[in-house]
Every structure is written in structure tokens, then in C-alpha cells.
């Protein structure tokens, strides 16, 4: 499968995420769009890890493992980020009784 297809697919997914983060006003939906962008990048990294490494002179059989481990670490960071971010959103909802980001444009009060 040509790598261009994967680049196009991941770009479309990423831009859908960007559009959602810009257009929606619900803080949770914006957060989900960020997850969507992270997944688009993950998909692209995995696709790149399966490209043939003919240009590298010292490429071994394990070439490409680094990219997949990078995806693994991205998932780790995303899980930590979601736990903290959802806690912040819950705290905001408890204080303001809304998760509309138009009302949350000030950090004070």
C-alpha cells in the first residue's frame, strides 16, 4: 500500500480533529478531538515504521521497532493527560456549572 495513502488518511483525520477543536464549544468534545489528533499521528508513525529501510546501510531486522515504541509512549502520555484533564474539567463544572469554553475564558473566578 503506498505510503501516500496513509499520509493522506492521517492528514484528514488530523484536520478533522483540528476543525473540531476550533468549532465545538463543549470542553469534552474538544478534548476528544485532541485524542483524535493523537491517534492520527500514531497511525502515521506505525505506517512509517513499516516502510522498507533500503536506504539505510546498517538497517537490521529490528528497524522500525523504535517508531512503534514511540507510539506506545504516546499512548502512555495520553492516558496520563486524559486523567488530569478530565479532573480539571470536572472541577470546572463543579465551580461554574457549565463546560462551555466561552464561559471558561478566564482562569480567575
Amino acid at each position: 500500500m503506498p505510503i501516500q495513502y496513509y499520509i493522506t488518511l492521517a492528514s484528514i483525520l488530523f484536520c478533522i480533529g483540528v476543525t473540531g477543536a476550533l468549532t465545538r464549544r463543549n470542553a469534552i468534545i474538544i478534548f476528544m478531538c485532541i485524542e483524535l489528533m493523537l491517534n492520527a499521528v500514531n497511525l502515521l508513525l506505525v505506517a512509517f515504521s513499516k516502510m522498507p529501510f533500503a536506504v539505510l546501510p546498517n538497517s537490521t531486522a529490528a528497524a522500525g521497532t523504535d517508531a512503534q515504541l514511540f507510539v506506545f509512549f504516546i499512548m502512555v502520555v495520553a492516558a496520563a493527560e486524559v486523567s488530569v484533564g478530565l479532573a480539571i474539567i470536572v472541577m470546572m463544572y463543579r465551580n461554574v456549572h457549565s463546560i462551555d469554553v466561552n464561559f471558561l475564558n478566564r482562569l480567575k473566578n
Binding site: M1, P2, I3, Q4, Y5, I7, T8, S11, L13, F14, C15, I16, G17, V18, T19, G20, L22, T23, R25, I28, I29, F31, M32, C33, E35, L36, N39, N42, V46, A47, S49, K50, M51, A62, A63, G64, T65, D66, Q68, L69, F72, F73, M75, V77, A78, A79, A80, E81, V82, S83, V84, L86, A87, I88, V90, M91, R94, I99, D100, N102
Partner: protein, 167 residues
């Protein structure tokens, strides 16, 4: 056109449709469910690329844990009836135009590059995605980042408890 290619196009179409439905759904619970569909489609892509460990981790961590967390928070807030309160169509148009411009730039940059024009991603072959090879590399070359990520998890856990605690 064999079964691999048919699966690739079906999974891509499913992922894109579900990603668009995440945006246009009024109900946040529906958005979460459509996002789970996106994650399943991306896991299918991982399996096609023979990255089986990442496929399973994606299902367990993202579709299993993170999305359930989102569902819990949405149900805790009881947001079901609430649509977007402010209908600001001007902002929506600007957002869609911005996303479309970014997409145009990314795709045209990828299309015009001659280095990757003939490169392909090998499907269904190779064993670098198997858990044996990934585990060996993870615990030899990447042992320090692995331990640091455990510290990150600990601090995230403490932070979530401190933030979410009623005071």
C-alpha cells in the same frame, strides 16, 4: 484488488465517517461512541500493518479505559439534553476553513515530495510489531523512558486526586 486492499479502503472510510460523526453529533455520548468506532478502525489498520501489540494496546487503553472515563464524566455531568448553547455560525465557518486549509497544505506537501512517492508500507509481513521484539527493545534501549513514564503516571494520579478532591 485482494482482500487486504478492500479491508484498507473499508477501514479508512469507516474511520473518516466516524471521525466526522464525532464532530456533528449533538449529543456528547454519541460523540464518545463514534470516537470508539474510530479507534476500532485504527486498530484494524494496525493489524493490517502487522503491529499487533499496538492494536491490542490501542483497544485496551483507548477504547477500553480512556473512553469509559469520558463516558463516566459525561454521565456525571448529565449533559445529555444540552446542545451547543451558542450558535455561532461565523466561528464554525472560520474553523472549517482553517482545517481545510491545513489539510490542503499537508496533502499537497506530501504529494509533491519525490522522496516518498515510490515508498510503500508493507502490509501483513514483518515481525517488528510482535510483542517479543517490542519487549526486548523496550527493556534494553528504552528502560529509562519506561521508568520515567511510570513516574509520570504516579504524578498524574496524584494530580488527578488533588484536583478532583472536594475542598
Amino acid at each position: 484488488m485482494d482482500i487486504i486492499h478492500i479491508l484498507f479502503w473499508c477501514l479508512s472510510a469507516l474511520a473518516l465517517f466516524a471521525a466526522i460523526m464525532v464532530l456533528v453529533s449533538k449529543n456528547p455520548v454519541h460523540s464518545v461512541l463514534w470516537l470508539i468506532v474510530v479507534f476500532f478502525a485504527i486498530s484494524g489498520h494496525y493489524i493490517l500493518l502487522n503491529a499487533q501489540f499496538l492494536a491490542i494496546v490501542n483497544l485496551i487503553v483507548y477504547a477500553g479505559a480512556i473512553m469509559v472515563l469520558f463516558l463516566f464524566v459525561i454521565m456525571l455531568m448529565n449533559l445529555n439534553a444540552e446542545a451547543d448553547p451558542q450558535k455561532n455560525s461565523w466561528m464554525k465557518i472560520i474553523g472549517v476553513v482553517t482545517g481545510g486549509l491545513l489539510l490542503t497544505m499537508l496533502v499537497s506537501a506530501a504529494r509533491s515530495s519525490s522522496d516518498i512517492a515510490s515508498k510503500t508500507a508493507t502490509l501483513k509481513v514483518g515481525d517488528i510489531g510482535l510483542i517479543q521484539n517490542l519487549g526486548k527493545t523496550l527493556f534494553t534501549d528504552y528502560a529509562v523512558p519506561f521508568e520515567i513514564s511510570s513516574v509520570l503516571f504516579l504524578s498524574a494520579m496524584v494530580g488527578a486526586v488533588v484536583i478532583g478532591k472536594k475542598d
